[in-house]
């Protein structure tokens, strides 16, 4: 087993959308903000604190710009969780020139232990935004379809 990184400090939130859910993460770099947005996405389906980092999955994404890269990153994660029937709770992310490489740690869905919410179908371009709001504070957000 790959050694998982320590737990992430929580720096994400859900924002209001009547039918679906807005996911928003903050960080000092785009990569940190992307990790937090990923945690916000997992949190739609289960409490990340209940998800053990037992297995590692590597994935990558690329896009013409950082905003589309966020959608690609979340969609790559959603795909891995859907096909592996897994949930993730830890992430290592590197972003270079709108290319992203990542490792995600998690475990198979366990109905007895995970308090499950609704499945995320995909990340949309709605309210899609990746920006440095103030020096050293990045925000990454979009609405995910549930």
């Amino acid at each position: 087993m790959t050694l998982a990184p320590p737990p992430h400090a929580t720096n994400w939130e859900h924002f209001s959308h009547v039918a679906d859910v807005g996911v928003r993460g903050f960080g000092r770099t785009p990569a940190e903000a992307f990790i937090q947005t990923a945690l916000a996405t997992v949190a739609v389906m289960a409490d990340p604190a209940q998800v053990e980092p037992r297995e590692a999955v590597t994935l990558s994404a690329q896009a013409p710009d950082l905003e589309l890269l966020l959608a690609e990153w979340l969609n790559a994660l959603i795909y891995e969780m859907a096909t592996r029937k897994m949930l993730f709770s830890r992430f290592a992310v590197v972003i270079e020139d709108n290319r992203l490489m990542a490792t995600a740690w998690g475990e198979p869905v366990d109905r007895a232990r995970h308090e499950l919410g609704t499945e995320v179908k995909g990340a949309t371009l709605t309210a899609l935004r990746v920006a440095e709001e103030q020096p050293g504070r990045w925000v990454a957000q979009c609405v995910v379809d549930v």
Binding site: V18, A82, A123, T124, D145
Partner: protein, 476 residues
């Protein structure tokens, strides 16, 4: 949103004449209260859709419209390929062909009440539901392609269902023009073990009592009698449809600029119907429609298996199977001329009126059944398509109540256990793998479905036939 932003045509029709880049008017069918409850984004989105190339007539929103991505949910728009018309992945949605099928049982309510608890448990055991669930069916590559090309006819050939079901399914169970090759390997992989599963969120299987009859003639023609039991199944194309939506949304976002389409909003991603990506999307989307039709056909069969254990003499007859998220080629009369249009319905139901050639003979005098989904406690409706609806919104109607509260807010407002106990006290048994899911889907998180249906009727989109009250709900 402020009703003052519209010109009020009648108590149930609100209009925005074309301004700026709008090519056609935008029209919302709703009463004043429903308009006030809608998000401002619905206005923005219905107006933005009116600016897309090749749009014909108007950009419409149904009474249950709410903020979607690109198109509003509850949005209807038709495009002409000969006038540069577009097809939009966002105009169909992620859960392609998500819809409802309803089966009549002829059983009186008393029979269900005798077995209610055991029947609820058996349905929950037999029909996979919830996040991460898988079905017993595994498809290899050849079977996957056969399913995507064949829809419910494929399922029937494999032993799921009865031949007479097909005429009660839109497209007679098989959407023509599906292109399994236009569906990515990733989308197919996502579906490999998800056939015959309900999914999560607002998807469900409900055992319902016909609690009120509004139109006895139509009800009789539909086989719906007061006090008898109906089973409704709400689900869609599962992972395959979601992945197709994801991939083509991204591809169209890039293609639009290449085709010189100026998008008022990036999420309105679309491409000309007559373009490579447009054609591939249509082929993939039709394959996803078939996936949804096959999925509901299998779940219908599983439901029959459970009922056969409890009520061996009872036959479950398919009333109808409708889709809520599609783009279909249809002929509609515009300005006295028949035109072949690509009609997008996102969170809206096709609602063909009486006499339509597409309808099976038994339903033709009445019009198409329009199945309106409920939410555990709020009940559902069966409506009938009207002739007027053709001129109102290309024969379309609403699809459900629509949420009035976010999942986040619902979670803060209710506990799942409380919702289950409260509904049990009202005679409704809920079975679900997720207490949190139940809280998110609490009936109070939805708008009043009765008000939505009333507005759809008053606007001439469809008319009320019966009201269905839930007795058992298996919730994903």
């Amino acid at each position: 949103m402020d009703p003052g932003r519209f010109e009020r045509i009648s108590g149930y029709e609100w209009r925005v004449e074309p301004v700026g880049t709008m090519r056609v008017p935008a029209v919302i069918y709703a009463d004043e209260d429903l308009i006030r409850d809608m998000d401002d984004k619905v206005f923005e989105q219905v107006v933005n859709v009116a600016a897309l190339p090749g749009i014909v007539g108007a950009s419409y929103a149904m009474p249950d419209a709410h903020w979607g991505y690109g198109f509003p949910i509850g949005g209807v728009a038709a495009f002409d390929p000969d006038q540069g018309g577009v097809v939009s992945a966002g105009g169909v949605g992620f859960d392609i062909s998500c819809g409802v099928r309803a089966l009549t049982t002829g059983l009186p309510k008393a029979e269900i009440l005798k077995a209610q608890r055991d029947l609820a448990d058996a349905l929950f055991r037999h029909i996979p539901a919830g996040l991460g669930s898988t079905g017993a069916i595994r498809l290899d590559a050849a079977e996957m392609d056969a399913m995507l090309a064949g829809g419910a006819t494929w399922a029937l050939a494999r032993g799921w269902g009865e031949a007479r079901d097909l005429e009660r399914i839109e497209e007679h169970g098989c959407m023509k023009g599906a292109e399994p090759d236009a569906v990515s390997e990733k989308a197919k992989k996502r579906q490999k073990d998800e056939m015959g599963t309900l999914g999560s969120g607002n998807h469900y299987l409900e055992v319902q009592e016909i609690a009120e009859v509004f139109d006895p003639v139509a009800a009789e023609a539909y086989g719906l009698r007061a006090g008898e039991i109906v089973v409704s199944i709400h689900c869609g194309s599962r992972g395959l449809g979601h992945q197709i939506g994801t991939e083509y949304l991204r591809e169209m976002a890039e293609a639009a600029a290449r085709h010189g389409i100026r998008l008022p909003d990036r999420e309105l991603a679309c491409a000309p119907i007559d373009s490579d990506v447009g054609r591939r999307y249509l082929g993939a989307m039709r394959a996803a429609i078939n996936c949804a039709l096959a999925n509901r056909q299998i779940i219908g069969h599983l439901t029959r298996e459970v009922f056969a254990q409890f009520f061996p003499k009872t036959r479950l007859e398919l009333l109808f199977d409708v889709s809520h998220n599609t783009c279909k080629i249809e002929e509609h009369e515009v300005g006295g001329k028949k035109r072949r249009l690509f009609v997008h319905r996102k969170g809206a139901t096709r609602a063909f009126g009486p006499g339509h050639a597409e309808l099976p003979e038994a339903l033709r005098p009445i019009g198409q059944p329009v199945l309106i989904g409920g939410s555990m406690g709020t009940g559902s409706y069966v409506l009938a398509g009207t002739r007027e609806s053709e001129t109102r919104a290309y024969s379309s109607s609403c699809h459900g109540a629509g949420r009035r509260m976010s999942r986040h807010q619902a979670l803060k407002s209710w506990r799942g256990r409380y919702v289950v106990d409260d509904l049990a006290a009202r005679g409704i048994l809920i079975r679900s793998p997720s207490m949190r899911g139940i809280a998110e889907e609490a009936p109070g998180a939805y708008k009043d479905v009765g008000q939505v249906v009333e507005a759809a009727e008053r606007a001439g989109l469809s008319r009320k036939v019966v009201y269905l009250k839930p007795l058992i709900c298996v919730k994903g």
